[in-house]
Symmetry: C2
Subunit: 243 residues, 2 copies
Amino acid sequence: MRFTSERRLDGGVLERRFTLGEIPGVLWTPGSASAPAPLILMGHPGGLEKMYPRLAARARHSAAVGYAAATIELPGCGERPRSAVAEEARADLRRAVGAGEPVDDEIVDRLVLPLVEQAVPEWRAALDALLVLPGIRGPVGYAGGVIAIGVRLAAVEPRIAAALLFAGSFVPRALFEEARQVTIPLQVLLQWDDEWNDRQTALDLFDAFGAEEKTLHANMGGHTGVPQFEGDEGNRFFARHLR
Amino acid sequence: MRFTSERRLDGGVLERRFTLGEIPGVLWTPGSASAPAPLILMGHPGGLEKMYPRLAARARHSAAVGYAAATIELPGCGERPRSAVAEEARADLRRAVGAGEPVDDEIVDRLVLPLVEQAVPEWRAALDALLVLPGIRGPVGYAGGVIAIGVRLAAVEPRIAAALLFAGSFVPRALFEEARQVTIPLQVLLQWDDEWNDRQTALDLFDAFGAEEKTLHANMGGHTGVPQFEGDEGNRFFARHLR
């Protein structure tokens, strides 16, 4: 891991960009911390620069209550080399959603399974590099999408102690089985009228998780309409499980 | 309204029992309040004395952040005269649930419609009496079950500005139409494995509400297993809408 730039944001949060091998990433740490800060890995749909404003806002919201936050670029997104298979699957998915058709499991598998296979080891490597930095500690939380990545990470990575997942229905059927192995506390955000996701599939996935403590927060509105108060509720969820 | 007893609970909350005509009720007000406290009406399934420990705990939790709370006995419950029709419907319902059979709409209508018809005017009369007391103000919140009573109250009583409803499936079909007329902010608690309620019916009712701001909090466990942290989340929900 190599830091490439650093700056202070309003409120004192330290923002450091880094590369992990070829993968770009960003780390935010609270301005004033007397003790090491628990780390939250922030998931996103890919495209760090496009997602930056929302990610930075979420990181600052977390830093305000004492968390460090970090994210890395997804395979095939942003500045990273494209995968022809993924590009084609993504185009097929957009075509189906645009035409109002159901999205074939086959398209979802073709798009998401290779992404999960490649991304999860990268996020775990990022954890290795982040948790040895001064001022950062586990246990770690995972917050955000891609939900399939969150499911696999929560199932296989013991350093992740709690996850706040953004519900999505583009989840390969194979990952429903892995969801049963997820036993850490979960909070799942579902947008009731999400134009990109099927509500019933999201409810089925919530049902499938093996966690004893899992909470679904369903709110009105479309994909990007998560209410502001859910940010505070996310902080409180992590406060219960990462302290 | 006639006060029949009063006492101070630990923490200074003032608990006053009252009768409104023949209907017993309880009012809790914060120990130290510089300004009038917003009122929360606390719904319950009937049987004030049996429910008292849980109601008092909820009221103290609300009083700790500055709310007054009040409740009244439901028709045909506790010390109030029984209704033969309701008793028979209740027995039919228990028989169906005990046998693991689906509960006929006809039984639900027979049990719940007369209860709603009688209870809602009583709760509105209680509001009339409570809101003229010193130290209590609107807007008012409604919190709890019976959800059918909450639906009707939220639809017809303009002084109720927000409602925290405990999901239940024993809702007459006619009330799904009224749910569309409920436009105040709602938070709905659903116990995912509620032995007394059908999950899909509860989700359908949540879907039916006309409110632009409605949030579903689904948690694991059975009917009485609502996690403790939902008490705090309820307080914050009301803080957003009753202040």
